[in-house]
Symmetry: none
């Protein structure tokens, strides 16, 4: 009995995943408005009603996808620790976070596309949260800049502007990697990105 229930639950989770995956792909291809429940259920190979057995509405799936992605990303991105001597060097921490983030996106192209393009999309309330998430990251970068200036690591600059530029740069690179097709050696890319950010392109 217990086994039955458990396998039932597992099956349910499986279905949910299946729908989420289909929805993610459709949203990535067509955007929130352009995506139709029809397209999602066709891709997921389920009946119309089944969709609504697992999600309350179109915007609910959308929100669910973005929320999960933001959770995953938050787990990969933190403040860089500069005071704790037991922590790795700042540049190592930075590299680690960028690498981890890029790898996450490369592992789920559809999701990356979604994250990059769904800043618009009113209607779905998660969209605002996505914007808030980006603001959060910009703020993280800005504070890193301020700290860096204080400890003499970073040159005098406008932290907010630099943060906006950096986040844009990251997005640009991710877009580039996605457009490239399959697995590029993310490692070298990270090195290049960080170099650009820290030293620019001049000789």
């Amino acid at each position: 009995m217990v086994t039955t229930v458990e396998s039932g639950d597992r099956a349910k989770q499986e279905r949910r995943r299946q729908i989420l995956t289909a929805a993610k792909a459709v949203f990535a291809e067509a955007g929130y408005h352009g995506a139709s429940i029809n397209a999602i259920i066709e891709r997921a190979q389920i009946a119309r009603g089944t969709f609504y057995l697992y999600f309350e509405s179109k915007s609910a799936v959308f929100d669910s996808i973005l929320d999960q992605a933001m959770t995953e990303l938050r787990a990969r991105i933190h403040r860089i620790e500069v005071d704790d001597p037991s922590a790795p060097a700042p540049q190592v921490q930075l590299r680690q976070q960028v690498l981890s983030t890029l790898e996450y996106f490369m592992g789920d192209r559809a999701l990356a596309t979604l994250l990059l393009t769904s800043g618009s999309t009113p209607e779905a309330e998660a969209s605002e949260r996505l914007e808030a998430f980006f603001a959060e990251i910009r703020s993280l970068i800005a504070r890193a800049m301020t700290t860096g200036m204080e400890i003499g690591l970073i040159r005098k600059c406008q932290p907010a502007l630099v943060a906006a530029a950096m986040l844009g740069m990251i997005r640009g690179v991710i877009e580039h990697l996605i457009a490239q097709g399959p697995q590029p050696p993310v490692d070298d890319t990270v090195t290049e990105m960080i170099t650009i950010a820290l030293r620019g392109v001049l000789k």
Copy 2:
């Protein structure tokens, strides 16, 4: 008679502009799918049928807007001339182009929003052309990098990746400026942007 026709033509052009302006605002606010013909004609103060007198379809206005913007931008962005001794120094040329571009966007926020967010939106064929336009710019930057490397101005780097990063950075900054509200001193911003790109943020 000729005068009448001419003034008629001028009036027609005026109407077209009026619709385009309204549409631009609506598209910027709601995105391609979220924008309704209704919203556009209300904003333009015209009747439903009149809209279709000037544009074939919803996507036609959208395309028209993007096309015009791309034309304007192409007029502001060129290859940087390094051989011609009569041309200004490369950094001056660069600065001029970036400044002109930013000023164009600041003068038309709605359009800037559109350009930044309409990478998604299938349906409207201009969206692909927009993607092509961005590719064009990335290619311009990439070639500038290659040239720069050849003449020993730029350090060894992956031009395509750098181009993606730079374009992303520009988009990030424009987003930032738009979000800021009214007229910031674009001039300083340009200086900062170029500094980041060329020298990074390290001291």
Copy 3:
């Protein structure tokens, strides 16, 4: 031009009427829930979108129908004037009101059916107002009873109960008339109804 506009308005009113009539019939046949927009537009010979050009929603038409009916009925039913010497005798007033009401219903069977059966139907807010309307009438009758008792015309009784019984009786008679088919001589019916109410059926 004025003529055109006016005829346009008249045409619009005509359309509205056409839809209302169709809707009334469908609601009467199938009840609020059972009635589908499909059935209404088929009966009205219009396209789906046209319906929504004239009414916001299904419940809006329903409300509109009931509201209009209640307005019409209110115009036919008033407090019976017993003090004013210039007014007709109470029994004449009563007869007049009952007659007028019955004639109204006989002139629009579908509407009568609707009024008689839509006490249930939640969802449409007019349904509550209909219930309130019936309560209003019951209250009118109850007060008439009280007054009648005071002036010694009516025997001692429970006004509220009598009111409920009387309203029920009226509804029962209307149902009966509708079921009968075409034009019965409403006049005799009214006489009988009033006689039952005032003197009962005993010899």
Copy 4:
């Protein structure tokens, strides 16, 4: 073995009742169309499939409820016996039947609501039978009137019309009692009702 089967049958009957009770409440609250299988099974605390183990369809439960009610009512209402000297006086018989009917309804408000409002509801075939049932009662009253006229007890009147009025009156009163809330002294109400019917409200 026999015992098991019997207890099984009894349990089955129990389940059936449980579902009927739940359904009755839901139908009374929401009407036939407004009632959902979902609401019924939630109220009955059973699984979706179980419902269909006991009833063929939604309309089948509905029919079953109405049928049972009609059976119960038929057991309470008969022709009034005027010839048999051993029978109670006609007015006593009348009183007994009205009282018994009212008590039945007061003991099951949900059912009363259902009976009063389900005259509409096509779809469920029992609705027609309900209409037939009402016709049956009207016919009973009409024949009582005719008989009454023949034996000089009732004044000259139109039996069919009087029957419709009387049935309407009964329904009006039941509605009134239900709306009142808990147990009013049904006895006095019956007296009033019969008085109205027989002698009217004039002094």
